[in-house]
């Protein structure tokens, strides 16, 4: 065996180094001509859920429907729609579920507000406990003082 023989580990390392240097190939090879639109296209397709695979965005999914939705986003961008309009367009058809970052609405208000409510309840409970503890310290102190003062009668060393 020579010093430079390829162990499996070093082979994997070499492959990873080489592959890591290459730009990641996206599922979607299409690029829009205007860089600004391309950037918005990339951002939008990353925040829309692929409804068939559910934990991938439409930018990451190879399934046919994701491709159709990317086409839809492209066409809406080229038609001059804003990001908000495009999100609404998708939400009207597929519901809140298509958005990875759902917007606040009356239907999902409780979902957004429950954590805040729980945090509030927790804070109030914690404050009450802390206050009670703080109140106990002077009580302890006065008790200790009392015992100290009467040390002669009790026959106990309270210091």
């Amino acid at each position: 065996m020579s010093r430079w023989s390829l162990t499996p580990i070093s082979l994997i390392t070499v492959i990873m180094l080489v592959m890591g240097g290459l730009p990641a190939r996206a599922i979607d090879p299409i690029e829009l001509e205007q860089p600004v639109l391309q950037e918005r296209y990339r951002d939008l397709t990353h925040e829309l859920r692929c409804m068939q695979c559910q934990n991938q965005s439409i930018a990451d999914s190879p399934v046919g429907l994701a491709g159709d939705l990317r086409r839809e986003v492209r066409e809406l961008l080229l038609a001059g729609k804003t990001d908000a309009e495009i999100r609404d367009h998708m939400r009207e058809r597929y519901g809140d579920f298509i958005l990875f970052r759902p917007q606040f609405s009356t239907r999902n208000a409780w979902l957004w507000l429950t954590p805040l409510l729980l945090l509030l309840i927790g804070t109030v409970a914690a404050l009450r406990v802390i206050r009670r503890r703080v109140a106990l310290v002077p009580a302890d102190q006065s008790m200790a003082d009392e015992t100290h003062g009467n040390s002669g009668t009790s026959g106990r060393n309270a210091s």
Partner: protein, 179 residues
């Protein structure tokens, strides 16, 4: 005793919430349609096997179902028998939306298995399916006489689903069991 009442109550509430959540989990895997109670998407598409066009507007004034299918979809074959029964019962028109499919394959499929559809609209590029919020075939929508989407079923139909989820939603005048 009373100092344990609050934590115990909170714990009981948590158990109840989680229990109900787990009980309802199976129905949560189906994503509800955003179109329920909204007007059905307007579209005009070529009719399968003809050079005519089908306009969804022409269905105004009647209850109908629109069934999204494709020959590439295995579950569509499983519901085909039910679709034939539905068509045979003549309760309401059955519109097919042939989704991202090949015309020739679709015609062969209907030739071999029987044609339950009053008309099949061809959505080769899948644009109309997006307007309907379709995310997987088969899907079946129930649309009322005013053109409002009443119900959507995801997955293959069977006689039980047809009677419980569709017929029960139809008014008597449209041939349904419901009121």
């Amino acid at each position: 005793m009373t100092r344990f009442l609050l934590p115990a109550g909170a714990f009981a509430l948590l158990v109840t919430v989680l229990f109900v959540g787990v009980q309802r989990a199976p129905e949560k895997t189906v994503i509800p349609s955003a179109l329920i109670g909204k007007p059905a998407p307007v579209f005009t598409l070529p009719v399968l096997g003809s050079d005519q066009q089908f306009a969804a507007d022409s269905m105004r004034g009647r209850w109908y179902i629109i069934n999204v299918w494709g020959t590439w979809c295995a579950e569509c074959r499983n519901e085909h028998e039910t679709l034939l029964e539905i068509a045979g019962s003549r309760v309401l028109p059955v519109i097919g939306l042939n989704w991202k499919d090949d015309d020739k394959a679709a015609l062969e499929w209907l030739d071999q298995l029987g044609n339950p559809y009053d008309v099949v609209a061809v959505d080769r590029e899948g644009r109309v399916a997006i307007d309907w919020g379709v995310y997987g075939a088969p899907e079946t929508f129930l649309v009322d006489a005013s053109g409002t989407v009443v119900y959507r079923h995801v997955g293959p139909l069977n006689p039980e689903i047809w009677s419980r989820k569709f017929l029960d939603r139809l008014p008597q005048s449209a041939g349904g069991g419901g009121s």
